[in-house]
Amino acid sequence: MTKTIRVQYFALLRDQRGLADEKLATAADTPAGLYAELRARHGFTLPVEQLRVAMNDEFAPWDAPLHDGDALVFIPPVAGG
């Protein structure tokens, strides 16, 4: 089933996507599936192993079920401090 997902991009992923934010339709069932789809489409260089994912403003497992209206952020390697 197709879902509408909001994705926000930061840092390297924002540069590679050319956008900070988008709503998109996907048939992916999990954040892992959606990242694979977006990586193939946009040529993201970061492998999923180097990322974490947040769903609705909280860290989530890569195999969490995606629901219509979820907000996702793929989190590149952090570098605060």
Binding site: W62, V78, G80
Partner: protein, 150 residues
């Protein structure tokens, strides 16, 4: 209290908020923008954060530290935006009854913030090039990439 701030911090106010009658020690850490990294001259830095989750994860780090080191208070502020050499990028302040716990907690907090909080740093180099600093994200669902502390 953990805050992401697009503007400079009021250090006097942060210090006052940490005041506690049982405190015998206040330890602080100030992280500054330096003019080089990995042998490259750096002209300025740009920080960005995923604010809602950064503040949640930062608050968890402070809560864990309060418990582990029996702190009386703990505050961390992290800047976002474009910073110049010498600017204050991050401030950690903790109070405890004795100095050992205060020093240890301060170090622990900044190490955890660097490894866990969704904040990113872009270095701008002399000559106009720039690059996102490739740190590593540690966490329950992250791969075990060794942290690259700057």
């Amino acid at each position: 209290m953990f805050k992401i701030s697009p503007t400079p911090f009021d250090l006097d106010r942060l210090r006052r908020e940490l005041a506690h009658p049982r405190a015998g020690a206040l330890a602080t850490f100030e992280g500054l923008v330096r003019d080089h990294n990995d042998g490259q001259p750096v002209r300025s830095l740009e920080y960005e954060a995923f604010v809602p989750l950064a503040e949640k994860e930062g608050a968890r780090i402070l809560g864990e530290a309060r418990e582990r080191f029996s702190l009386l208070g703990a505050i961390c502020f992290h800047r976002t935006g474009h910073l110049r050499i010498g600017d204050l990028a991050v401030w950690v302040g903790v109070t405890a009854e004795h100095r050992a716990a205060a020093f240890d907690a301060c170090r622990h907090i900044i190490d955890e913030v660097k490894a866990r909080v969704p904040i990113w740093k872009r270095e701008h180099y002399a000559g106009g090039a720039s690059a996102w600093v490739n740190g590593a994200t540690r966490g329950e669902s992250a791969a075990s990439v060794p942290p690259n502390f700057g």
